[in-house]
């Protein structure tokens, strides 16, 4: 199995603080610090979303960098490619803002930059060991792990729950 990492979401841990969104925008700003990002024009964009469900579930939604990504197939300008770290990225120089990717993304995670008239999306922070959103998350609702490790941990957690259930 691949040792490439992915960002995993645990909605049960999400408090809706939006720190991930701030960190994402800052990481995608020129100087990469909050205070100068605030005065950047146009403002840097965050590339993930925290949605809300009735019952107060907070749902971080971000690009899954799909295996068979519809956006890659759909792109009419060749701007969307799969990078070495397995992330699906949009080359801002090639993007012409036709929004076909927005139309085909079933997660709704490709944004439309109204100022630059191009699409923006998660690039998994290629310059960083960890994506900024994961580092910013105070509750580990976002984690960065390989698929193997994440599913192993999930299995362990599940077995713990089972064990506790039996004990209690």
């Amino acid at each position: 199995m691949s040792d490439l990492k992915e960002i995993f979401v645990n909605t049960q841990h999400c408090t809706g603080c939006l720190s991930c969104k701030l960190a994402c925008a800052v990481q995608h700003s020129k100087n990469k610090d909050l205070f100068s990002a605030l005065s950047q024009d146009p403002k840097p964009k965050s590339r993930l979303y925290v949605e809300w469900l009735w019952g107060n579930t907070k749902v971080p939604v971000l690009c899954r960098h799909c295996e068979d990504a519809p956006c890659v197939n759909a792109c009419i300008s060749g701007a969307i490619t799969r990078a070495e770290n397995n992330a699906v990225i949009t080359n801002t120089d090639k993007c012409i803002g036709c929004w076909t990717c927005v139309m085909v993304c079933p997660y709704g995670v490709i944004g439309r930059d109204k100022d630059l008239k191009i699409a923006y999306r998660c690039d998994r922070c290629p310059d960083q060991d960890h994506p900024a959103c994961v580092d910013a998350c105070p509750t580990e609702a976002l984690t960065y792990a390989t698929v193997d490790k994440f599913s192993a941990e999930k299995r362990q957690a599940a077995s713990r729950e089972v064990a506790q259930g039996q004990g209690g």
Binding site: E51, V59, P70, N73, I76, S77, G78, I96, W99, R112
Partner: protein
């Protein structure tokens, strides 16, 4: 010896198939026959050639997106002329013959030129389909000052804007009551129309051209069916396209509008497949056969055909007859599924704001989302496409769909 794959047509569907085959079959022999002189390119990008924003080098497929495989022989300037399904041979216009084990027909489409308009073969009349068309328009636009666009579809609009950016004056003659009539009801197009008017595009609707007028330097005007004439030095015809199936004339292959395709992209002939603009696909919403010239559809069907040709049996689930996204005059729009609701019994919900318009269309009984039109605010359009295409159960989220507040969280398992 590897299997021989021949692909007729080197655009989206053909090249997507070629790259898919290469991934699945490292030893196969892949030959793509393209009747164009240029190497394969992103066809929707050619308006940018007209205004010079892109050079041909910038828009070639090779190395971008899914087009990253090597070892594909692309023979440019090789239009297919005839097929012998018995001998499994395709012969080109230049007389060369290629044997195949599996063949793909992805020859695309050619512009539809209405017969009732005279003079469409004159110098200075264009129909934007190929890179060379775009280059011709770019050249002509150097000397022209006024252009008449016949037809108000997306491609013509993009061409019109490219020419406006080159400071030409542009008149668009549209037979329909409004531009973009394939993508929306005329009354839904007002935000686009406002933006187009503001951008300086002169639009005449409900009028048809009857004749292209010429002088020694080619086009000098257009005569209209209301008796008036417009002086111009250039005409661009954008009246739709027709599948390019000429090379199959005389063969016993099922063609109805386009080339018949079974659910596995195979034609009525064994070992012959089809994909893209030339192929007939099923619209999952209407269940009807459709022939559509959409890049995304061509790529996806091409990938599917490539898989089937290498033996990975894969169903092509079809495409929405209408599925288009673009930005015209700084206004983004997405139109998907059934969006023409005038005089229909569909349950429709329209919402107009100062800068945006949206229309959400449900089936008559209101249980299924079948179409959506977004103008100005296209957020989460992909979620709507997903719901339309996958016929998702909309229990509990219908109001979010109507109010444009739906998000991916609504589809998570509890």
């Amino acid at each position: 010896m590897g299997r021989k794959y021949v692909i007729v047509g080197g655009s989206a569907a053909g090249m997507a198939a070629a790259h898919t085959i290469r991934k699945k079959d490292r030893n196969g022999n892949i030959t793509v026959l393209s009747n164009e002189k240029a190497q394969p390119y992103f066809r929707p990008m050619i308006p940018y050639i007209i205004n010079g924003k892109k050079r041909p080098d910038d828009i070639f497929l090779s190395g971008s997106g899914i087009f990253t495989q090597g070892g594909i022989s692309v023979k440019t300037g090789f239009g297919a002329k005839s097929i012998d399904f018995q001998k499994k041979t395709v012969t080109t216009a230049s007389g060369e013959a290629f044997l195949y084990d599996k063949i793909l027909f992805s020859s695309g489409s050619t512009p539809y030129l209405p017969e009732n308009i005279e003079g469409l073969d004159s110098e200075g009349v264009f129909s934007l389909k190929t890179l060379s068309d775009a280059q011709g328009m770019a050249k002509r636009s150097e000397t022209a000052t006024h252009v008449v666009m016949l037809g108000g579809g997306i491609l013509n609009l993009k061409a019109a804007f490219a020419l406006l950016e080159k400071k030409l004056s542009v008149t668009m003659v549209v037979y329909s009551p409004e531009v973009l009539s394939q993508l929306m009801d005329p009354k839904d197009a007002f935000p686009i129309r406002n933006a187009l008017d503001n951008a300086g595009l002169n639009i005449i609707t409900g009028i048809s051209a009857t004749q292209v007028l010429t002088d020694s330097s080619g086009v000098c005007g257009v005569a209209l069916d209301n008796g008036s004439q417009i002086a111009c030095q250039m005409v661009c015809v954008g009246k739709g396209v027709v599948p390019d199936t000429g090379f199959l004339n005389g063969n016993d292959i099922k063609i109805d509008k386009g080339i018949f395709s079974d659910p596995y992209t195979q034609t009525s002939i064994k070992d012959a497949y089809t994909a893209g603009d030339v192929a007939v696909a099923i619209d999952p919403v209407t269940g009807e056969k459709t022939v559509t010239s959409l890049w995304t559809h061509a790529v996806e069907m091409g990938i599917c055909a490539g898989l089937n040709m290498t033996g990975s049996k894969t169903v092509y689930t079809g495409t929405l007859g209408i599925m288009n996204a673009t930005q015209v005059a700084d206004v983004p729009l997405v139109s998907m599924g059934i969006v023409h609701t005038k005089n229909s019994e569909y349950e429709t919900h329209a919402k107009k704001t100062r800068l945006t318009y949206r229309k959400i269309v449900f089936s008559k009984d209101g249980t299924r989302l079948i179409g959506a039109l977004f103008i100005g605010d296209i957020k989460n359009a992909g979620i709507y496409r997903y719901v339309i295409r996958e016929k998702k159960n909309i229990n509990g989220i219908k109001s979010h769909l109507i109010n444009h507040t739906v998000h991916y969280g609504h589809f998570m398992q509890p």
